[in-house]
Amino acid sequence: MQALPSDLSDSPHAKRPRVWGWVLLAPMIAWLALFVIVPMGILFVYSFCSRDDLGRVVFEFTWDNYRRVFDPIYLAVLGRSVGYAALTTALCVMLGYPVAWFIARQREEVRNRLLLLVMIPFWTSFLIRTYAWITILKSEGLLNGFLLSAKVIPAPLEILYTPAAVVIGLVYAYLPFMILPIYGSAEKLDNALVDAAHDLGAGPVRAFSEVIVPLTWPGIAAGVLLVFVPAIGMFAITDLMGGAKVPMIGNVIQNQFFKARNWPFGAALGVVFTMMFIFAYALLQRRGARHSQS
């Protein structure tokens, strides 16, 4: 299956799809150029500008915004954001991997039904689901009500509006984005390879670390990216479930644009932030290439 790409390029019809490929891609390229590249460019330019007293962008070159990004206050926020996002990603891998693996090992009808269950939350608005979590976690909420009546705890737990609530919310929101790509890799993994590892004396742990993880690495990497990147910039969950007590970088940027009306500084934060992702992505890619090269 890994020989497939080279097989395709060897075929005599390889030339035609290339031309058609560009034609078919054109609408998406136009879309991305207009709504991603151009805004990024604007952001980049703004990040070197300053603002007047009314919050309007003044086109006067300055490094001030970047200097402010590296102010300890913002670095602390950035560090916290990375920490929360990393914790969220780690929890998603730990919770999502077994689920993805389990689904991938089922018969096809069962597999499709379970995948549907994973995707069902997307049918409801994300905000509504976050409010549902608030009713579960608040001090007189469902969880505390249950634990109190079961006499597991003497007094209600304070979970809502703490960092724990933020992480719970983030893990809940992004878990499907971890499960689906890992499932994609796990489903393609030939069971005979796992059998072969056991047959050659690898116990469950060795078989997992030596064979299963390397061969599902593309799925893990994709899942990590799909969870970590949006989690670090998330502001709705931190606002609603963290009670704005634990601001993350997403909240800070949002505030610069909408409350403080300091677009140039918000833009500089955004640019630094994006650079960080590109760096992290390149790192992951390199790791992935080492694992799955054939």
Partner: protein, 357 residues
């Protein structure tokens, strides 16, 4: 070396392996032969530990392994799909088992080098499986399975993905390798020719049951059931009824009215109806009357040229049909063609009697 005792395995309502008992001696090349779904692969998977019997006991080297995990068994398998790790090189694939056994790296390197030479893969050590041909992958799978020195090597139709010519070569190579290593081989196949070529003994399976266990010659010349007679090679199976029984021979009437003389020892003592099995190559066909215990006149209904052999469909008075295979030279000499009337002879010793199912 291997003792399989009253082993049964069910999948839901389906009984894959039905009360099978089998002993395999150390250093033996034994083949589990049968059509797909006959239980041979399930039995193999119970030897490797991927399936657990519902009933019965499996011992390997005297140790009860019935419920032992695959990674705790001193048994290795060559998988049908080879199951080479795509993210590892040939060397890493072969060394995997040694690494799991925590063999010291110098020792491991030496053993890998040795086995690479044994399967003639020198120069391919640093390739990935995708950069190898089917035959080379097959040899990597073999090397990977023998290098940890298992007490038993299990082979699950390892040659089925190769083309006919390569398959023939590998059959001979495998047999030679098995003798060289003195290792016990359990080989699974549905290809009767492969089984006859390589095995010390063959276990023929049908619908979860062990039909017959014996050497290639025994299985071929003395099939004990109609299934074995029909599955190994080709057989004309003629329903017959006992007329009289003498000291050394018995007289039977086959459907259509022809009477045959068979060896009395062949006919089971407790039945009056059974099947007479005769191999197509044991049917003697000639334009002149032949010297034989059983001689009949027949008409050739069809002639099929098959290169070295000529295949004749014969019809006797009364409508009994028989297939004969003759060497083509004689067909040329005597020029037997469709429509000809011929003499057909059957030696008593070539007639094998099997029970009706």
């Amino acid at each position: 070396m291997i003792e399989i005792q009253d082993v049964t395995k069910r999948f839901g309502d389906f009984t894959a392996v039905n009360n099978v008992s089998l002993r395999v001696e150390a250093g033996e090349f034994i083949t589990l032969l049968g059509p797909s779904g006959c239980g041979k692969t399930t039995l193999l998977r119970m030897l490797s530990g991927f399936e657990t019997p519902d009933a019965g006991v499996i011992r390997i080297g005297g140790e009860d392994v019935t419920h032992l995990a695959p990674y705790r068994r001193n048994v290795n398998q060559v998988f049908q799909s080879y199951a080479l790790f795509p993210h590892m090189t040939v060397r890493e694939n072969i060394g995997f088992g040694l690494r799991m056994q925590k063999v010291a790296s110098a020792e491991a390197a030496r053993r890998i080098e040795e086995v690479v030479a044994l399967v003639a893969l020198q120069g391919f050590e640093d390739r990935k499986p995708t950069q190898l041909s089917g035959g080379q992958r097959q040899r990597v799978a073999l090397a990977r399975a023998i290098v940890p020195r298992p007490s038993v090597l299990l082979l699950d139709e390892p040659l089925s993905a190769l083309d006919a010519k390569l398959r023939g070569q590998m059959q001979i190579e495998l047999k030679r390798l098995q003798k060289h290593l003195g290792m016990t081989f359990v080989f699974v196949t549905h290809d009767q020719e492969e089984a006859l070529t390589m095995s010390d003994r063959i276990a023929v399976f049908n619908r979860g049951r062990l039909e017959q266990l014996g050497t290639a010659t025994e299985i071929y010349h003395q099939p004990q059931t109609a299934f074995v007679a029909d599955f190994i090679g080709e057989a004309n199976l003629l329903p017959a009824e006992l007329i009289s029984r003498g000291e050394t021979t018995a007289r039977v009437r086959i459907e259509g009215g022809l009477e045959l003389t068979v060896s009395a020892a062949q006919w089971p003592a407790d039945v009056t109806r059974a099947l007479v099995s005769v191999r197509p190559e044991k049917v003697h066909v000639s334009k002149k009357p032949v010297e034989c215990e059983n001689v009949f006149e027949a008409r050739v209904t069809e002639e099929l040229f098959q290169g070295a052999l000529d295949r004749l469909d014969l019809e006797f008075t009364g409508g009994t049909k028989l297939t004969a295979v003759v060497a083509n030279e004689s067909a040329l000499l005597e020029a037997i063609h469709a429509g000809d009337r011929v003499w057909c002879g059957l030696h008593t010793d070539d007639l094998v009697v099997v029970r009706m199912e």
